[in-house]
C-alpha cells in the first residue's frame, strides 16, 4: 500500500512537472517549428536580448512587483496587527472583507477595475496596475502576517510595558523582531502574486505599458515561437526562486513556537 502511494505521488509529480520540462527543453531546441531531433542551441535566449518589447515589459513587471510588495506589506502588516491585537467591533466583517479579492474570479475583479478606472478618469497604465496588484496582495499579506502573529504571545509586549516601555516601543522592540520572518515571507508572497498576475494586468495595461505575462499572452496568441519558451523559462525559474525563499523564511507548513 505504501509503495503504491509513493508510486502514485511520483505519477502526480510527473504530471505536474513534465509539461513544464518539455516547454523548457523546447526553448533550447534549434528548430523554430519545434521539430525534432533535438539540436541544442541558446540562440532563442540570445534573440531575447534584442527583443526590446519583452525586455521593457519584463522590467515593468519587476518594478510593479517590487512596489506592490513594499506597499502591500506595510499596509497589510498594519491591518494584521490591528486585527490580531486589538478589540474591534465588527472584526469578523473586516476579516470577511478580505475574501472578495481572493475569492471573486479575477476576470470579474479585473473588468470591474477597468470599468471603474475608466469611468473615474484614473485610466489604465502603471498607476492602475499598481492599484490593482496591491489590492490583490493585501489580503494575502494580512493572512500570512496574521498567522505569524498568532504564534507570538501578546503578554510579551505587556511584560515590556509593565517594565516601563511605551506601547509603540514595546511593539517595535519586542513583537516586530519576532514577526520579521512572517513579514518577509508576506513581502515575497506579495511579490510573487504581482509578478505572476496576468488577468488583472491584461485589462489594466495599455499598448505602451504592459507586463511580461500580458506580453507573453499576446505573443502566444500570434503564434508559438521558441522565444516564448525562453522567456517563459526565465519567468518560471524566477518565480520559483522567490517561492523557495518564501518557503524557507515563512515555513508555511511548519509550526514554530516563538517565545
Amino acid at each position: 500500500m505504501i509503495a503504491l502511494g509513493k508510486f502514485y505521488l511520483l505519477a502526480i509529480l510527473v504530471f505536474l512537472y513534465l509539461p513544464i520540462i518539455v516547454m523548457m527543453a523546447m526553448g533550447f531546441n534549434d528548430s523554430s517549428l519545434y521539430e525534432l531531433p533535438f539540436h541544442f542551441t541558446t540562440k532563442w535566449y540570445v534573440a531575447l536580448a534584442d527583443n526590446s518589447q519583452l525586455i521593457s515589459s519584463g522590467i515593468n513587471s519587476v518594478v510593479i512587483a517590487l512596489i506592490t510588495a513594499v506597499v502591500a506589506t506595510v499596509a497589510g502588516t498594519m491591518a494584521a496587527v490591528a486585527l490580531g491585537r486589538r478589540v474591534i467591533r465588527g472584526k469578523s466583517l473586516l476579516q470577511l472583507l478580505l475574501l472578495p479579492p481572493i475569492a471573486i474570479p479575477w476576470l470579474i475583479t479585473g473588468t470591474a477595475m477597468l470599468v471603474f478606472f475608466f469611468w473615474t478618469g484614473i485610466g489604465r497604465g502603471m498607476h492602475a496596475l499598481i492599484l490593482g496588484h496591491v489590492a490583490l496582495a493585501i489580503p494575502y499579506v494580512v493572512l500570512v502576517v496574521g498567522t505569524g502573529l498568532q504564534t507570538i504571545r501578546a503578554d510579551l509586549e505587556e511584560a515590556a510595558m509593565s517594565l516601563g516601555s511605551t506601547p509603540v516601543h514595546a511593539f517595535f522592540s519586542v513583537t516586530l523582531p519576532l514577526l520579521a520572518p512572517s513579514i518577509l515571507g508576506a513581502a515575497l508572497f506579495a511579490f510573487a502574486v504581482s509578478l505572476d498576475q496576468f488577468v488583472i494586468s491584461y485589462f489594466l495595461s495599455t499598448p505602451g505599458f504592459t507586463t511580461l505575462p500580458v506580453q507573453i499572452y499576446s505573443a502566444i496568441r500570434k503564434g508559438f515561437t521558441p522565444e516564448i519558451n525562453a522567456i517563459s523559462t526565465i519567468l518560471l525559474l524566477g518565480s520559483m526562486a522567490v517561492i523557495v525563499v518564501f518557503a524557507v523564511f515563512a515555513r508555511p507548513g511548519g509550526n514554530r513556537d516563538k517565545r
Partner: protein
Amino acid sequence: MPADIPVASTGTPSGVPARRGIPGSVATIALLLPSYAWLLLAVFLPLCTMFVFSFMNATPMGKTPIVFTLKHYQAFYTQPYLVKIAWDSLLMGFWATLSCAILGFFAALALARATTGRVRETLLILILLPFWTNGLVRVFSWTMVLREGGFLDMLLHSVLPDAGSIGFLYTRPAIVLGLVHGYLPYMILTCYIALVTIDDSILEAAESLGARWWTILGKILVPLALPGLTTGAVLTFVPVIGAFMEPRILGGRVGVTMGTVIEDQFTQAFNWPLGAALSFTMLAVVLAIFATFSGVLRRNSGAAA
C-alpha cells in the same frame, strides 16, 4: 489573538486597555485605514460601479443618453446561444473540479499515509511549487505536449512509428486538462490538511475490527476529508468558471466559455453593460452553488459529529 487582550476591555467596544497610552480607537483606525481604503478604491467601488453599469442600455462613452434597463439580464432569453455556452462552462468546471477532487484526494492520502518527515515536507513543497508560478506559462507548456507533432506524439511514435497523431490540442478535454493541472495543487493541499489530522489509532481500530479498505475509505477517510474536499472544490470551481486564458490557448476555436464571452464584451465588442450583467449572473450562479454545497457540508459534518 483577541483572547489575549486583558479582561479590562470587556464592555467598551472600542476599548483598549488604558495603559496602552494611545487613544485606542484612533490608533486602530489608523492601522486599518490604508488596507481597507485601498480595497475600497480598487475592489469594492469598482464592483459597485460595474453593478450599476450592468443596468445601463449602452456603454457610457458616446453621446447616447443613458437609460437604465434590465435587458442585459434577459440576454439568456434573447440570445439562446448563451445558455449553451453557460452550460458548457458549468460542465467544464464540473469535470475539472471532479478530476481535481479524485486525483487530489488520493495524492493527499498518499502524502499523509505513505510518507513521513522530510520526504513528506519536500514532496509537499514540490507539489505546491508549480501553483505559485505563472499560470499562463503552465498553460502554454501544455501546447508543447498536446499539439500535433508535440511531446505526446513523439512518445507514441517512439513505440509505434507509423501511428497517426494523438495530440488533442484545441479540444475541450485539452482545456479541462490544463485547468486540472492548474488547480490540482490547491486540492491536494486542502485535502492533506484535513487528512493529516486523522489519528492512526482510528484506522488501526477499524482494521483490527475487520473493516476492509473500501469501508475505511468510505466510512472514515472520505467523511473526515470532506471539509478539505469541499474547500478545494470551491477554490477550484470559482476560478475555473471565470477562466478565459486557458480556453483561448488550449481550446482555440472550440474554447468559447462564459469567461471568453465576458472578456469579449470588454475588449472586442465594447458592450460593457452586457459584460457586467453576464459577470454578475455568473457570480450569482457561483454563489448559489456554494450556498447549496455549504448546506450539504453542514448537514454532513453535523451527522459525523
